[in-house]
């Protein structure tokens, strides 16, 4: 009964003229899927903001992680963003589980060009995910609305990547704030002094401990092969959600499954709000 009502409500909320439900992309994390009523809605705009400039790489990684593997991606960024945070790097994307040949990067000179290019890309049926990177500045709510409509028409996933947590109101379906989280120490590592002794340089045990190694090293000189790898962790916060409650989670990118999983060393976070606290009872 309630499910039916929700369904009809969702149908009413849809902009006129768009009759196909584009479906959604499940996260694979039950808690998040529950909050999102099934998964990240396709055919909608989602804002992903980095907690700060430094966390932009993590936010970009989170955005790329949302893309289904094998999907056609368009990454649109301003010239300045590409110069400051670096351009997407093919071998790295490949290691992240995305096919680099399916990524189209577009450098826009201004925000205006960027928004135009995003709209064009969203209208193209061959594109599954469009990522627009907007480092600085506010974005016109009209532009956000236009992007949402374009996404709804094309059925693609529109992701707006922002350099800092925005405070403005938005018509985006969801808004996430992403920051990098310390990765979990996998069992069985914690650098042994012998590893640090190479080329005849002795390591003094009494000084502060050396940086631990990400992988358990073998006795070889280059401790690179084999061993358990530390996987990237993300602290994500869902601060706006048109379909359900908000929440905060710590996720971990699983290289083997190429999807997010709840971090094994989940740090205590505030309990996710059961309802939207900002919405007052009339």
């Amino acid at each position: 009964m309630i499910a039916q009502l929700r369904q009809s409500l969702r149908a009413l909320e849809k902009p006129a003229g768009i009759d196909t439900d584009a479906g959604c992309l499940p996260f694979g994390v039950p808690a998040i899927d529950a909050a999102l009523a099934g998964g990240l809605a396709r055919g909608a705009l989602h804002e992903i903001a980095a907690a700060g400039e430094a966390h932009l790489a993590a936010a970009a990684g989170f955005a790329l992680g949302l893309a289904p593997s094998g999907a056609r991606l368009v990454w649109i960024a301003e010239d300045m963003a590409l110069a400051e945070s670096g351009a997407p790097y093919g071998p790295g994307l490949d290691a992240f589980g995305l096919a680099p040949e399916r990524l189209l990067t577009v450098a826009a000179a201004h925000q205006r060009d960027l928004l135009w290019a995003m709209e064009e890309a969203l209208r193209c049926r061959a594109v599954a995910v469009v990522i627009g990177e907007l480092r600085h500045g506010a974005i016109d709510p009209v532009a956000v609305r236009r992007l949402s409509l374009a996404a709804a028409q094309g059925g693609a996933l529109a992701l707006l990547l922002r350099g800092s947590p925005p405070h403005d109101a938005s018509t985006a379906a969801t808004r996430w704030i992403v920051s990098a989280a310390p990765s979990s120490p996998s069992p069985g590592w914690g650098g042994s002094p012998s590893e640090a002794r190479r080329d005849g340089v002795a390591y003094d045990k009494k000084s502060s401990p050396p940086p631990v190694r990400l992988r358990s090293a073998s006795a070889d000189d280059l401790p690179l092969s084999g061993g358990g790898e530390r996987e990237s962790c993300f602290a994500v916060q869902l601060t706006r959600n048109r379909r359900g409650p908000l929440g905060a989670w710590t996720l971990q990118w699983s290289d083997d499954d190429e999807r997010f999983v709840p971090a094994t060393h989940a740090q205590p976070v505030a309990a996710p709000a059961a309802d939207r606290p900002h919405r007052k009872v009339a």
């Binding site: 003229g17 999907a71 290691a95 040949e101 990098a180």
Partner: protein
């Protein structure tokens, strides 16, 4: 062959820009160590001055003259502009610096109603622009040039070259001044004097250039014309009785011209890869807009759509002035294209795109797939139709933003990280771009992870390492201090040792700081290779991980 000589180009250029004065005007330039007059106007000519006279001498004779230094660059710019503008008569226009143009009007003159009508049209326009000119038409470049510069301007038929050239001075053969003077010393002043002389002694004495120029002028040896712009394999043009100025009209004429080009392209099974629209303004300005495509194209609507984007991208408006009186659409690069590819192009123009899209989605509406698990979505993962759609997107973006801004990643066979992954304009890349080979290599070599984003240039950081060869303990990047809590490495990547500028070997580390940020750092140079007393190797940050 039409030769146009703008005999007072520097003077005309200066006078176009300012109000007419009564003082005689001369233009001077440095030749060797002397300042000589290079161009003079009519008033100065009446005073008895000629080009080549020293400026000091001219000033002494006539203190009232106005002398302006020459500006060769502006002159050649003006000549280029006039050459562009002459493209309305023929696509084969060559500059003959410093002040001449050569137009190959074979097969073009009848479009204007004959050679005389063409010359009348050209003269009228030149007069309106305030340029002094001499025009001659002859069968060969040499004869036309000689007639324009030294003979009576006019139109000469093929075969009349001998009669035309005979009375002209030898300088009309475009010879070195030294050769002309040497010929004058032996009493040869006119072309007619030497036309029938035995050839061997002439060559022996004056070199092969003399007879080559004579043969070329007489049409006995071919002289190639070197056009200023490459000649397009396919051209369609339209002249307007009434100049057009509105963008819609320009686009409509693009569509019309593209329709004509399509017929020509189809006949030879070609498609356009690069298309140029040339608009001729009534006042002589020429606008050229080019658009590229990622696959051979001949659909008029698709070509029009490209120019819609191209016109939108102009920073200044099209600026039609008093209107365009001619438009030309040329295919600069054509490639073979199978007919069936073209059928898939759906002509969609800006206003009706949304409508069209809806129609298409309805016609091939599929049941909404259920997403029980993380499934591959049906949109955007392949199929020929998707490729076509994507090519159209690439073309639109490239037309508006510029082809170099729309890029695709390619894998290159190199162990140096910044070379291994590179960017290429998407219109120039294929479908695979070497990533299949890269994946095989990565699996085989067990390549350690690479960063998601790579800085264009590695940025220097201040790093403190526990042991010289070990990972850094902390480092400062862009003024922020990062405490390293975990590190992986080193991965040693040698520089390009075979090259002089290959750079030192690098030890790459993947580090994580307290906040969980992950970086890719390297130390440029190894301690073991350091010379005695040299500074320690420096550290750089090269990329960031997710």
């Amino acid at each position: 062959m039409l030769s146009l000589w703008l005999r007072r180009l520097p003077i005309d250029r200066i006078e176009r820009l300012r109000e007419r004065t009564t003082a005689p005007l001369v233009v001077y330039g440095k030749r060797g160590n002397a300042e000589l007059l290079t161009a003079i106007d009519d008033a100065a000519e009446r005073l008895g001055l000629t080009p080549g006279v020293a400026l000091a001498q001219a000033r002494a004779m006539h203190p009232g003259i106005e002398a302006i230094a020459e500006d060769a660059e502006a002159d050649s710019q003006l000549l280029d502009n006039i050459a562009d503008w002459c493209l309305r008569y023929t696509p084969l226009v060559a500059c003959y610096p410093p002040d001449g143009l050569l137009l190959d009007i074979s097969g073009c003159a009848h479009l204007y109603g004959g050679e005389d009508a063409l010359v009348a049209d050209l003269s009228g326009r030149l007069e309106k622009a305030g340029l002094a000119y001499r025009i001659a038409i002859a069968g060969t470049i040499g004869a036309a040039w000689a007639a324009a510069h030294h003979g009576a301007p006019g139109s000469y038929r093929c075969g009349e070259e001998r009669a035309l050239l005979s009375p002209l001075p030898l300088a009309a053969l475009r010879l070195e001044p030294g050769t002309v003077a040497a010929l004058a010393r032996v009493g040869l002043k006119r072309i007619g004097d030497m036309i029938d002389l035995p050839r061997a002694p002439l060559t022996a004495r004056f070199g092969p250039e003399l007879l080559r120029q004579l043969d070329r002028a007489l049409g006995q040896e071919h002289e190639p014309l070197n056009p200023r712009l490459p000649v397009a394999p396919y051209v369609a043009e339209q002249r307007f009785a009434e100049p057009i100025a509105r963008e819609q009209d320009v686009l409509a004429s693009v569509a019309r011209l593209a329709g004509r080009l399509k017929l020509a392209l189809e006949r030879r099974g070609d498609g356009a890869r690069r298309i140029e629209l040339t608009l001729f303004r009534t006042d002589g300005e020429v606008r050229r807009l080019a658009a590229g495509t990622s696959r051979p194209l001949r659909n008029p609507a698709a070509i029009r759509a490209l120019f819609v984007e191209r016109l939108h991208a102009l920073s200044d408006a099209l600026d039609p002035g008093f209107g365009f009186d001619m438009a030309r659409l040329s295919v600069l690069t054509a490639e073979p294209c199978p007919a069936r590819d073209q059928a898939e192009w759906v002509p969609v123009s800006r206003p009706d795109r949304a409508q069209n899209y809806k129609d298409r989605t309805r016609s091939d509406a599929k049941p909404v797939p259920t997403f029980a698990d993380r499934v591959l979505v049906q949109i955007g993962i392949g199929g020929a139709e998707d490729q076509t759609e994507l090519d159209r997107l690439v073309d639109r973006l490239s037309a508006r933003l510029g082809a170099r801004r729309v890029r695709q990643l390619i894998a290159q066979d190199s162990h140096i990280p910044e070379i291994a992954g590179a960017c290429m304009p998407a219109q120039m890349t294929g479908t695979d771009n070497g990533w299949d080979a890269f994946r095989r290599y990565r699996a085989q070599a067990e390549l350690s992870p690479r960063p998601l984003r790579l800085l264009t240039r590695p940025e220097p950081i201040e790093a403190v390492a526990e042991v010289p060869d070990g990972p850094p303990l902390r480092f400062r990047w862009r003024r922020a201090l990062h405490e390293v809590i975990a590190a992986e490495g080193p991965e040693r990547i040698e520089g390009a040792w075979w090259s002089e500028h290959g750079g030192p070997a690098r030890d790459y580390f993947r580090v994580e700081d307290k906040a969980g940020l992950r970086f890719w750092l390297f130390r440029a140079g190894l301690y073991r290779d350091l010379a005695q007393g040299a500074a320690a190797p420096s550290w750089f940050l090269h990329g960031t991980f997710a």
